[in-house]
């Protein structure tokens, strides 16, 4: 049960069930070489890494998102790529300590840099990149902006060589990938966190890789549609999953309970803004106070809530 690095605690979300889960499966045993990333085995043959709940920086090397991998009888699928090439390289090293089966797929849950900047490492290892049918265009439109803003945040050295690779295979609706007696069910979603959201369900273990459709601890970031997200949460609840790997927060959490905190935040934001818009409040005044009651419940609230509120106001005033 040696951990390469401590799992930053199981954090506040994890009730008793989670603690049991963790003690049963533990994390990847390794000799703790410096160059592997810590992955927890959250179900048999299912692994997840918890990135820091923080803004991307040179200190955390862009390791600010969760990602994972699933090992089938024949092949491995990696779900999301990590937020920089070094982080992805260390993830690949961690995979190699678990299995020498080929990494057949890199599945991207959406377009954001913290989830895709490591793509090239897995592509070079032979993976086929799979993502939403909207992902290629979304990445292309944002490429310059993402690279520029990450150069500012991580420093140029960590961005050198990053390529925003489009999917080789795109999904519009659902797709099942077989890893050898192990079926992964991929599903795209109406615009919510972004317009490229895709989830991966490991049907064998009932583990859902939700990407950023599920946030824990880290304030949810709206880069798609607030109302769309609230609708998607209702549909997500119906998925046959017992646990989820959220896009940010702990590596694993019980499902569908993990949807509750973000649903509460998004509903609060919507309720406050709807009332402000009805009352004729201007955008800047509404954005300054909306969802203030949620501030204590989240990390990075001040970093993201004003932007969420601004974008959501512009969305809701059309309703």
């Amino acid at each position: 049960m040696a951990l390469c690095t401590p799992i930053e605690g199981v954090r506040s979300v994890g009730p008793a069930a989670l603690a049991v889960l963790m003690s049963v499966f533990g994390s990847v045993p390794c000799a703790c070489a410096e160059d592997t990333l810590a992955f927890d085995e959250i179900a048999p043959h299912v692994y997840a890494h918890a990135g820091a709940v923080a803004l991307p920086s040179s200190e955390n090397r862009g390791d600010t998102s969760n990602f994972g991998f699933v090992v089938g009888d024949e092949a491995v699928a990696v779900i999301d790529a990590g937020g920089s090439l070094p982080v992805a390289r260390e993830a690949l090293a961690a995979i190699r300590r678990v299995t020498d089966k080929p990494v057949r797929y890199l599945i991207l849950t959406h377009m954001h840099p913290d989830h895709v900047f490591g793509s090239r490492i897995f592509k070079d290892a032979g993976a086929t990149i799979v993502g939403s049918a909207a992902l290629g265009d979304a990445l292309a439109a944002r490429s310059d902006t993402y690279l520029a803003s990450y150069r500012d945040q991580l420093g140029p050295a960590l961005v050198e060589g990053v390529e925003l690779l489009p999917p080789d295979r795109s999904v519009d609706g659902s797709l099942t990938l077989d890893l050898g007696h192990r079926a992964l069910r991929l599903q795209t979603w109406p615009t919510a966190h972004t317009n490229t959201d895709l989830t991966v369900l490991d049907t064998t273990s009932g583990t859902l890789f939700a990407g950023d459709l599920v946030f824990l601890e880290h304030l949810p970031v709206i880069d798609g549609s607030l109302t769309g997200w609230l609708k998607d949460i209702e549909s997500l609840k119906a998925l046959p999953a017992a646990r989820v790997v959220p896009g940010h927060g702990p590596s694993v959490a019980p499902f569908p309970a993990a949807l509750e905190p973000e649903a509460r935040y998004l509903e609060t934001l919507k309720r406050d803004l709807d009332a402000d818009i009805d009352a004729g409040l201007r955008l800047e005044n509404a954005a300054a106070s909306a969802a203030a009651s949620e501030a204590a419940n989240w990390q990075l609230f001040d970093a993201y809530n004003p932007r969420n509120a601004t974008a959501a106001y512009a969305e809701l005033e059309w309703q």
Binding site: D137, A140, T145, A148, A287, E317
Partner: protein, 276 residues
């Protein structure tokens, strides 16, 4: 009159073209434009956009509200207002460090009672924003604000391009009754238009060409027979343009709105006098 509008437009087009070329050569860096040297940029704009005309301090005559730090660089609220006793007929909003600095130019209708227009703009770098008011006698009055924001222009116009394409041209008019502090002499309304108002600063990764800009260039807002204001717009007006404005409260009249974009698509909408 029509000739002066034409001159204004071609001047703006020239500034826009220069801006786009510069942007194409140096990809938007998102870097912080340093304050030192900002004056030089502004002096260059005074020459290019305002033919080097002298400008008076606009304090108390024109005013500009903008956040010191923008929450979302693609949606920065700005409020332009004028002292109604000073006969300001034209307001030009200039975002110094944007790729196309002239965000919009508003011409206020005679006797329309418009003293305040709020809109939302994209801001691409830490920048001064200048508001220049032109009085009936041709005198220019200037005021400015410094805004910290970055990346708003190069950010994709739409969070959901498919949905944006379906709803293009839809309009909504909200009415708020008496404008604050007007003592009931002016009413307030907000016009919203669905349009991607695409900045044209995103690169197509396959062709390596910039996706063409697509934005509203002309807008006329009238009430009854009277023009409240017209706008010549550039790429810095945010997606789904919004204009909240006051106007002289008198007999109920229907609103007539007409917008034309860079692809010569025309969107017209009438709103009945008493709709809310």
């Amino acid at each position: 009159m029509s000739q002066s509008i034409f001159t204004g437009r071609s001047r703006m087009a020239a500034v826009l073209a220069i801006g786009l070329t510069a942007a194409a050569m140096s990809a938007p860096s998102g870097a912080k434009a340093a304050e030192p040297g900002a004056d030089e940029v502004w002096q260059g704009l005074v020459t290019d956009v305002f033919e080097g005309k002298p400008m008076q301090d606009g304090t108390g005559i024109v005013s500009l509200e903008a956040p010191a730090r923008a929450a979302d660089p693609a949606l920065v609220p700005v409020t332009l207002s004028v002292d109604p006793t000073r006969h300001i007929r034209k307001l030009t909003l200039v975002i110094d460090h944007n790729p196309a600095p002239v965000a919009a130019s508003f011409t206020l209708g005679d006797g329309a009672g418009v003293t305040r227009i709020e809109t939302r703009v994209r801001v691409n770098a830490y920048t001064d924003i200048h508001l220049v008011g032109e009085a009936d006698d041709g005198t220019l009055y200037v005021t400015s604000r410094y805004v910290k924001a970055a990346g708003g222009c190069a950010a994709p116009a739409s969070k959901d391009p498919a949905a944006a394409a379906r709803s293009i041209g839809q309009m909504k008019l909200r009415r708020f009754g008496a404008a604050e502090g007007s003592g009931g002499t002016r009413d307030e309304a907000q016009l919203m238009i669905r349009h991607p108002n695409n900045s044209g600063l995103q690169k197509d990764q396959v062709t390596l060409l910039y996706i063409p800009a697509h934005f509203i260039t002309e807008l006329t807002v009238a009430r009854g027979e009277r023009t409240l204001f017209t706008m010549e717009g550039g790429i810095s007006i945010s997606e789904d343009p919004s204009f909240r404005f006051d106007y002289r409260a008198d007999t109920p009249e229907p609103f007539h709105v007409k917008a034309v974009d860079t692809e010569n698509m025309t969107f017209a909408h009438d709103f009945p006098a008493d709709a809310s």
